[in-house]
Amino acid sequence: MSTESTEAIVIRQADFSETSRVVTLFTRDFGKIATIAKGARRLRGPFEGALDLLAQCQIVFIRKTSNSLDILTEARLTARFRPEARSLHSLYGGYYIAELLDGFTEPYDPHPNLFQEASLMLRMLEAGDRPLQAVLQFELTILREIGQMPVFDSCAACGRPVENNGSFSYWVSQSGLLCRNCQKEEFSHHQIPAGTVEVLRRLAEGDSETASRLAISPAQISSLRRITVPALIDILGRRPKMLRYLG
């Protein structure tokens, strides 16, 4: 048993008893952890309402060596997630980030960069102007962090390098691009509009600060999410619940 302290985002909660809750957190230094928070349901408990879904807090917890739940002893709120604009898309985008963090990471497998990105995308969703771009950026971040980013710089069939504005399509089963010569009817693939490939490559390179400043059209976003979503479903083995709400 050891006492640890780190920054965390609440990604799941369930009432456990009259006063306690099981709280799953995605932490900066330890990855995903499952804790029991005693007194969390009281109005003036030790957590003072900090344990809301997607709230970011500074936490202290006792790490158990056995496979029982860790014990959350302290949580101080740093940022509550509350989309400013009255947009359900921003709210559902936030839930989706929680779902992806929970579904794509293992307990005690730290991804500090993913934590950083999640926090950044939650702030972008709060600002509310381009919720689906935040969703797309986070989907790409997840794929990159778990080492499953599709290859976007060459044709998946012949290896020819991708040129800007060339005519490409996305080969679903091979998670890669197909150049014009390799686009055969027997392959399940869909066309990617010219220019969109370049946007995709710039997004895939990382640096979400820059990516957030890119103006991506709604059409480009939906075209790119036809690449990221099947890739995520394939790895997860099921459709994320939030897709139904996000469209």
Binding site: A14, D52, L54, R86, L91, Y92, K241, M242
Partner: protein, 205 residues
């Protein structure tokens, strides 16, 4: 853990009672044992009256056909009270929230119990709540004000947002409880004065 039902020195019946009692919220083993001892040694009619009260609650209590609060009749006491303002509806997540708000004694309209909150990650969608019935009520009863009293959590606020979008084209004013109650907490733990203030100080949604 030992199996009380089989090993209790007084026999299996007392053991089973202790097990049942300790399954209730807030009741530990020690308390369960004290209660069981009491029930074994108190006057028999008193003990049986408790058993009958439990049976009666389970057979007679159902959901109000109009507001989905718990009641013993078709329509609950609040909905059938002629002194209440039928054009004001306060929306809550659970029947126990009605109890808390009634204790504050400030709200004079009717309630609508959603039966939960929209919680997509836990598999609870809008179709699992009593929203169709709410929209029907709003239209039929010429409702003029909807007071959102969902819990001030992300999901509670999100549910209120969903409902306000749903009622966008209805001629109702939508208000919410004042923010006296700490975000991230739940109504059932708020005290009477806080709730009374939150209702009096309600704001446009």
């Amino acid at each position: 853990m030992t199996n009380d039902a089989d090993t209790h020195p007084y026999g299996a019946a007392v053991g089973t009672l202790i097990q049942r009692l300790s399954g209730l919220p807030g009741i530990g083993r020690k308390t369960a044992e004290r209660l069981a001892n009491h029930l074994v040694s108190c006057r028999e009619p008193d003990a049986l009256a408790l058993a009958e009260a439990i049976r009666s609650v389970r057979t007679n209590v159902r959901r109000c056909r109009s507001c989905f609060n718990l009641t013993e009749s078709e329509i609950c006491r609040i909905c059938s009270d002629p002194r209440r303002n039928r054009h004001q509806i306060c929306i809550v997540e659970q029947p126990r929230d009605v109890v808390s708000l009634e204790a504050a004694g400030v709200f004079q309209g009717l309630y609508h119990v959603l039966g939960g909150r929209i919680s997509p990650l836990e598999g609870v969608g809008p179709e699992d709540l009593t929203l169709d019935a709410l929209v029907r009520r709003v239209r039929q009863d010429e409702v003029t004000e909807i007071l959102m009293a969902t819990n001030p959590t992300l999901e509670g606020d999100g549910t209120a947002l969903f409902i306000s979008n749903l009622l966008e084209n209805e001629p109702v004013q939508i208000t919410r409880l004042a923010r006296g109650i700490a975000s991230g907490s739940v109504l059932e733990f708020a005290n009477r004065e806080m709730l009374a203030d939150a209702i009096r100080g309600r704001q446009n949604f």
